[in-house]
């Protein structure tokens, strides 16, 4: 019998203001204590908002990415020789990162980490990393490649901070309150993550996969350069795609790590998308946005959130949606507040949306 090709997550690593490594990420999102504080990395005197979720002792983006890739590969049990031929999909901001352009950064990382397969760099704003994961899963399941490393990084820096501040996107009350009444906007956060996605090769090496990416979807709103379509049609089609590829009904989804940034219109549009994609079940499935604790890691957000979603699902407790004040009637969802929720669910969605009306949905399974 021919074994169906799957895209298993065999190695994970992440760094954020919650700490270093997967244990720190899981503990942080379950504790539900927001990691926002005054930015000391650059001058914020001219800004309306002066807080973000930053890790105090952080290296350069290239160094942090290289360390994350090495750690994920080690977690997957890949020695240097086994990384040969492995592809690298990288998600970073399109501008120069630490003085080096994105393509050069990808080339340097591949050389440093021993990955000699093809490289691709995604600069699709806040769906960069999740698009890379979807592409990696597609390439693996259709048999193009055996193994892909997806890496993503954003470390809070002065230029993007100034832009988000100028756009009045940052929460002036210093808290991210996804789906909650009284939400004021997003806050930025550090995020560097890497995952190894592979076919059943991991199992053949004796590695127990953390989770499997069983479905994915990418779709556009066709609505506005920066604002989401209020009815959530594009994001709903991305969720539809993820469920269709997995061959699962909405009721199989036991948790949604929402994109929800804490922005008024975006969170309401996402609630509408869930209603459209999941029907009445949208009011029952537990939902939270871990951006409420680790902040918005922009190009890296999709990978950091995939990591914490897979970890939480495997652990059996669902992350807290921090910053909650009260229900907003525009977001009629079952939001996980106050404390982590125990679960026996085997599947979870992690959603991302970006400028340009770009939407992605990743469906992960455990067990």
């Amino acid at each position: 019998m021919v074994e169906a090709r799957v895209a298993q997550l065999t190695g994970l690593y992440a760094v954020s203001a919650l700490g270093r490594g997967v244990d720190a990420q899981l503990a942080g999102v379950l504790a539900g204590v927001a990691a926002f504080g005054p930015v000391g990395r650059f001058d914020t005197a001219a800004r309306r908002v002066t807080v973000a979720a930053t890790l105090p002792e952080v290296g350069t983006l290239p160094d942090e990415l290289a360390a994350a890739i090495d750690a994920a590969c080690q977690g997957a049990g890949l020695d240097r020789a086994q990384r040969t031929g492995c592809a690298l999909l990288l998600a970073v901001h399109g501008g120069p990162a630490s003085g080096v352009g994105p393509a050069a950064l990808a080339s340097q990382l591949a050389a440093r980490c021993g990955l000699s397969g093809h490289t691709r760099v995604y600069t699709s704003a806040c769906v960069s990393a999740s698009t890379a994961v979807a592409d990696a899963a597609a390439q693996i399941t259709r048999g193009d490649v055996e193994r892909v490393v997806v890496a993503a990084g954003y470390l809070v820096e002065s230029d993007q901070f100034a832009l988000f501040d100028a756009g009045r996107a940052l929460a002036v009350d210093g808290a991210v309150r996804p789906f909650s009444a009284g939400r004021r906007g997003l806050l930025l956060g550090d995020g560097v993550a890497a995952v190894v996605l592979e076919s059943s090769a991991g199992r053949r090496r004796g590695v127990d996969p953390v989770a499997t990416v069983v479905g994915w979807g990418r779709a556009g709103d066709a609505f506005h350069p920066c604002q989401p379509e209020p009815g959530g049609s594009g994001l709903a089609r991305a969720v539809d795609g993820a469920l269709r590829r997995a061959g699962l009904p909405p009721q199989a989804v036991g948790y949604v790590n929402a994109n929800a940034t804490g922005t008024a219109q975006s969170d309401a549009a996402e609630a509408a998308a869930l209603r459209r994609a999941l029907g009445g079940y949208a009011t029952q499935v537990p939902v939270s946005s871990t951006k409420s604790v680790h902040g918005h890691a922009l190009e890296a957000s999709g990978l950091l959130e995939l990591v914490v979603t897979a970890l939480a699902l495997r652990h059996g407790e669902l992350p807290v949606n921090a910053g909650w004040l009260a229900q907003d009637e525009a977001c009629p969802l079952n939001v996980v507040t106050n404390r982590p929720q125990e679960t026996e669910a085997t599947h979870a969605l992690t959603l991302n949306a970006a400028f340009g009306g770009a939407n992605t949905a990743l469906l992960v399974g455990v067990g």
Binding site: A106, A354, A358
Partner: protein, 141 residues
């Protein structure tokens, strides 16, 4: 205006779509993805932001709304009802080859029926150059 990045993207893309579909636009039900490939990105705007931040100044809000290449892709998507995925890449090899590979993946994987591929480079001291190609669509010039 600090940058011609977005206007040039719009100009080449609209010319391409008009040749492909004329005034009728993309047929209903066709999911057109957008793949925008650029090594430079919006260099002129990024430089303005860098210089303003360096000098301790405040940036105009418009720069936030056009701070990533997704924005102009979203503008095109809204105007032409392009409902496929939006993907922006920084090329690691030949830009056209990179873009076609991504477009083929989106089509073969089933999230797009066709892809509007846009290549754009903004030189520091030279003209901005861009190309748009519609890949996989039923209609052709």
């Amino acid at each position: 205006m600090h940058s011609d990045f977005a206007p040039v993207v719009v100009a080449v893309a609209q010319r391409c779509l008009r040749r492909g579909y004329g005034a009728a636009g993309v047929p209903a039900g066709v999911r057109t993805g957008i793949v925008l490939v650029s090594a430079s990105g919006d260099l002129a705007s990024a430089r303005h932001v860098r210089e303003t931040v360096e000098a301790g100044g405040r940036i105009g809000p418009l720069f936030f709304f056009q701070s990533v290449p997704n924005s102009v892709a979203g503008h095109l998507a809204a105007r032409w009802d392009l409902r496929g995925p939006v993907v922006c890449l920084s090329p690691t090899g030949d830009p056209y080859t990179d873009g076609v590979a991504e477009a083929n993946l989106l089509r073969d994987d089933g999230d797009a029926d066709e892809v509007l591929l846009i290549l754009i480079e903004q030189a520091p001291d030279g003209p901005t150059e861009a190309v748009a190609v519609l890949l996989g669509g039923g209609a052709r010039p």
